[in-house]
Symmetry: C2
């Protein structure tokens, strides 16, 4: 089955028209159009990661436009650089294209990638197109950093820091899954709903915060699959016990959003702990070095695993998300 | 639908067990297991490319084992580095996993990637797993090179050079598509058939030749989608006319393989010009600088487009493959 009259060359030309408007790195020797892209000598370390955003798994086109899906895929990939304390240099994108793709789809994708590329300072310098059964964006991000922060450096006695919101994107997703438009909601919930929808549809990567954490954090990770899950990863990598407290976690959620959670039948604490895709950052570090943009939500203790401490005592946090389940 | 009892952590652990046995680059600071991989300062330029090998498009599991498909996907990606005259440093792989995946599938993929990684000198230092509807390997390769060869440097008067075989993989694919085993063939064709099947199933990337061409070639590309197609790319990028001659092209095919082509009803010249996936190299350069491993198959003239010169005169070569068709 051919796509609806779009050839590969036309698709690439439509995408390139947008992508070439994102400022290129000064050391780009060769971009889109050859067998590979070439960057002259990077300063410091090369940080690299591959990420995938697939229709039917990570997004649904009844909830997002194709431009939003494309923009969001780049943000999600770049968030892995923020999680190292690195800044993006460039990205490469493989696009799987369903049979019913039209020319305007490539235009939408180009627009979305351009918008994200400009905001993130991350030009797409190479790519590949392949025939598929659904839209899939597979993105490799390349970053630079003089020093990085790993997952395995959490020390006993460190505080646990949350940078950004958790749970808002989950509320946005629930609204979309239930087919609730902002206009369908009671007026008192509309503003909170709009904020949560934006958190899911148009997330941002905490790049500046990531870079600033390099000097002060002992461990760092981004929260893509839910806080409980990422706490478990940090605990495992650092061979320590990470204990978060319910009070600061609840306080991290604005009260208008907590009211919306209740209205939707969502438990605020559970939502903040298991809701993914906000692309917040989770770090550990000495309390004396906590930056003003970080919220202390717990502490690193001896032992293993991730725990929640409430008035009732310690409770083990089970991991919330499996990419094969 | 969960996969057959395989969790993401088990899949990653099974894959890592194999992948960690491929020698790592000495400048690898951080490999699989964090948000991103980190390589310390690369020497020279960073060459990077993304490539995709999808079940149903690039391979079919009735023709290839999963280990072969995984090994082949890495070779195909690395061939883009050979096409720049670069050597691989490392790769990142995104794996889309169908619902019926079993633990032994990850073991097979790990085995295949390990084998290719060792042969190519290309360790996989990071990856991602996502639930899909078919097996898809999306591979980013990172390479180093002090100097690269681009597509756009062909000069009028240069020879056109073919490095490696073209058309053999197509014969192998035709045998598989027709369900013909080597044992089904007349004894006189079996050896040639085995060679063609190997060319399709277990291709290699011409890395050493690519590096040696940096000093002598004016333009370079790999032949993944057929010679006619790649000649068109070189002609377009270099703004020149590339003319290949039928005689040296036919001579490039061993006579036993030409006989097998006739037996299968394939035209040898058409097969060598349109058959893809041999991962040969196509270059241009001054005749005085042609290396011993390169075969002269034509010349660069003024004008545009890719042409075949036969006893009957010049004939335009149309591009043979569209990734969206």
């Amino acid at each position: 089955l051919p796509t609806k009259g779009v050839t590969e060359a036309e698709a690439i030309s439509t995408l390139s028209r947008h992508l070439n408007r994102v400022p290129r790195p000064s050391n780009l020797e060769l971009g889109i159009g050859d067998d590979a892209a070439v960057l002259r000598r990077l300063v410091g370390n090369l940080v690299c990661s591959i990420d995938c955003s697939a229709e039917g798994v990570h997004f649904d086109l009844t909830w997002l436009t194709l431009a939003e899906a494309a923009a969001r895929a780049l943000v999600a990939a770049v968030s892995d650089l923020a999680a190292m304390g690195s800044r993006p240099v460039a990205a490469l994108v493989n696009l799987e294209v369903p049979a019913n793709a039209e020319r305007r789809d490539f235009d939408a994708i180009g627009r979305g990638q351009r918008r994200s590329g400009v905001v993130l300072g991350c030009p797409i310098i190479g790519g590949n197109i392949v025939r598929g059964t659904r839209w899939v964006f597979t993105t490799t991000v390349l970053g630079g950093a003089r020093r990085v922060v790993r997952r395995d450096g959490a020390h006993v006695g460190d505080e646990i820091w949350l940078i950004g919101d958790c749970g808002l994107a989950r509320v946005g997703l629930v609204l979309l899954q239930r087919g609730l438009d902002v206009a369908d909601l009671p007026p008192s919930h509309r503003r909170a709903a709009a904020r949560c929808l934006k958190a899911w549809k148009r997330p941002t990567a905490k790049l500046q915060e990531g870079v600033r954490l390099v000097r002060v954090a002992s461990a760092l990770i981004d929260v893509s699959d839910g806080l409980a899950n990422e706490l478990g990863h940090l605990a495992h990598a650092s061979d320590a016990r990470l204990v978060v407290y319910s009070e600061p976690l609840l306080k991290s959620i604005p009260s208008s959003i907590q009211r919306l959670m209740f209205w939707l039948g969502l438990d605020p604490l559970e939502t903040v702990l298991t809701g993914g895709e906000d692309y917040a950052l989770l770090a550990t570090g000495a309390s004396t070095r906590r930056p003003d943009f970080a919220r202390a939500i717990g502490e690193v203790r001896t032992g293993k695993g991730a725990y929640l401490e409430t008035a009732k005592g310690l409770q083990a946090l089970r991991n919330g998300f499996d990419h094969l389940a």
